[in-house]
């Protein structure tokens, strides 16, 4: 049973009176205890997707189509007061930057205790006890003493553990991790990701892991969704994607990975760059960089084609029955 279901989601930005589609018809789901990785380069809409789910879009943006359901309850149009009970309680979130995500003038213990008091209504003493337990759970040594430390006394990795403790404090159903290790050392990265894996399994949480690091995807995700320019271009199990990437962008992305077993003298790259939101092509958004671009790619956004196994879907004209023929004919 899926914890999070995003169905045909469109998020639009209004700039200067013109509406632009920052996210175009995105559909994905995260099951209990599963990690879905969302990959893509900067500006592809990964964080916009997270903010759409959280109901924390900036004032110029809004969900204009589709549904977001959490445990089969629709939340995309929920009021702010309803969302305040969902955020922090049923959806937890871990950010990229642990150095600034904590209030510098409150002790880390007080900060971990706060959501427990706010959402679960624990008393001061209960919250303190639970906070120490949480600190132990995220493996902060000497938790009881460290309760009274301030964020500046913690290293980056330790702070990220505090941020994780905050995110899982109220046993959320869904954990959104937005590039949780980008700001950390490679060795610490590993520890944090392993910790997230353990917590996800123990808490039966679904996890949405936003990253641009394919190595992390390979090691820590069950399924993967590839995004490009606000489109979800391909979604498959990790194994399937790495073995049979179907979308030209996924293929190019994987081909650009430096491999230790190959010649490293020249790194592969994808020519061109992501078009800005205000001049996105009408049809396929990858068209300017795609080696297989056809006539119809210019005019019509490609539909989602479901592969042989239901788990693999790709949004490309190449994979539509008869799509190629029609273009060449």
């Amino acid at each position: 049973m899926s914890v999070l279901n995003v169905n045909n989601l469109r998020t639009s930005l209004v700039i200067g009176g013109v509406e632009y589609h920052a996210l175009r018809e995105i559909s994905l789901s995260v099951a209990e205890g599963e990690t879905l990785a969302v990959v893509g380069e900067s500006g592809c809409g990964k964080s916009m997707l997270a903010m759409s789910v959280m109901g924390l879009l900036p004032s110029v943006a809004a969900i204009t189509m589709g549904h977001v359901t959490l445990d089969a309850v629709q939340i995309e149009a929920a009021s702010e007061s309803v969302m305040e009970h969902i955020r922090g309680a049923r959806i937890g979130m871990v950010f990229q930057e642990p150095m600034t995500a904590l209030n510098p003038v409150l002790t880390v213990g007080e900060q971990i205790a706060e959501p427990l008091r706010d959402h679960l209504g624990l008393s001061k003493r209960e919250a303190r006890k639970a906070a120490v337990a949480l600190m132990e759970k995220v493996r902060i040594p000497a938790a009881a003493t460290r309760y009274n430390s301030y964020p500046h006394e913690f290293s980056g990795g330790m702070r990220q553990r505090v941020v994780i403790a905050l995110a899982i404090a109220c046993r959320p159903r869904l954990l959104i991790a937005d590039e949780p290790t980008t700001a950390l050392d490679v060795t610490v990265q590993r520890q944090i990701l392993d910790l997230l894996d353990v917590l996800r399994t123990e808490g039966k949480m679904g996890m949405l892991l936003i990253t641009h690091n394919l190595g992390i995807v390979a090691g820590h995700a069950d399924r993967v969704a590839v995004m490009y320019g606000g489109d979800l271009v391909e979604s498959a199990t990790v194994k399937e994607l790495f073995r049979n990437p179907a979308h030209p962008y996924s293929r190019a992305l994987l081909a650009s990975l430096p491999r230790v077993d190959r010649d490293l003298s020249e790194l592969a790259s994808i020519p061109g760059r992501v078009p800005a939101l205000i001049n996105m092509p009408e049809g396929c958004r990858f068209i300017d960089r795609c080696p297989h671009a056809m006539q119809r790619c210019h005019t019509m956004p490609p539909p989602v084609a479901v592969g042989d196994s239901q788990a693999h879907s790709v949004r490309c004209w190449l994979h539509v029955q008869g799509g190629e023929d029609a273009a060449e004919g």
Binding site: L56, E84, V105, P115, V163
Partner: protein, 283 residues
């Protein structure tokens, strides 16, 4: 050279502002004690008139002499201190409460309301303080409560502007976003995560404004817009003494000195607190 260095180091060892804070606090403690304990300390009833004891010089009985109605100047200064300090304190507290809360809300939410409030605030700020005070007292009418409100209105812009700019800067911080992600209500974010960080600055502004409030009160009283007689306020005493300045200068000079002492005490405290809090000043 080495001697100079040594002295330099010894001076530096004192935290910035510490001396000023202690000196200012000591002065204000004595002044406040004198004001609060006025009924116990004052040798005479400040309102008791005596035609037989008019314009007495300084003596063991009348420490600072008497005025044209035979009232004891020293006692009147003590009672005047009471009203003046209370007026300054109440008006500053009122301005701090309103200015800070409206300023924080305005900066945190932003938008059109914020723009209008800021514009109105700038307008209020552009008035010279005395002129604003005179206009407001004239509109409200005399009386201590109205005086407090008038001074509070003139002090409001300083607190509003300070709290608003602090909220504007803080609301962009990542940890405030993190609070939203954790589902905290705006009220919780403001009261627990914004307000405590702005409090330091606000208290410093409040201390400095206390001095300004004393000055405003005295100035308004001097031009006859203060607490109505026979109430004694420091500014009112100066005004009364002014009528006989050439013959009995002490009647104006003693309350003036009292104002001076209060101003010095409050300014020392405010400047000291500011220096102690300013990272650019600390060694």
């Amino acid at each position: 050279m080495s001697e100079a260095l040594k002295i330099d180091r010894r001076v530096r060892r004192l935290p910035p502002g510490r001396v000023a804070i202690i000196a200012g606090a000591a002065i204000m403690a004595i002044v406040a004690a004198a004001a609060i304990l006025a009924p116990l300390v004052a040798p005479h009833d400040p309102y008791a008139q005596s035609m037989l004891a008019r314009f007495r010089p300084m003596s063991a009985e009348y420490w600072l002499g008497t005025d044209q109605f035979g009232r004891d100047t020293f006692s009147r200064i003590l009672y005047g201190l009471q009203i003046t300090l209370w007026t300054a304190f109440a008006s500053t507290a009122l301005a701090m409460l309103c200015g800070t809360s409206i300023g924080i809300l305005s900066g945190y939410y932003g938008g059109r309301v914020d723009r209008w409030l800021s514009a109105a605030n700038d307008l209020l700020m552009s008035f010279p303080q005395m002129v604003a005070g005179i206009i407001i007292v004239a509109l409200l009418g005399p009386g201590i409560t109205n005086l407090i409100i008038a001074i509070a209105i003139t002090a409001f812009p300083a607190f509003y502007r300070m709290a608003r700019s602090a909220a504007l800067a803080l609301r962009e911080r990542d940890y405030i976003d993190a609070c939203r992600v954790l589902g905290y209500s705006d009220m919780r974010i403001i009261s627990r995560h914004l307000l405590p960080e702005t409090l330091d600055d606000i208290i410093i502004v409040a201390t400095l404004w206390l001095a300004t409030a004393v000055r405003t009160e005295s100035s308004l009283a001097f031009i006859g817009l203060g607490a109505p007689p026979p109430a004694a306020t420091l500014g009112g005493l100066v005004r009364e003494g002014f009528d006989n300045l050439l013959d009995y200068p002490g009647l104006a000079i003693w309350p003036s000195l009292a104002i001076l002492v209060v101003m010095i005490g409050l300014n020392l405290m405010g400047d000291g607190l500011r220096d102690a809090n300013d990272p650019r000043v600390s060694a």
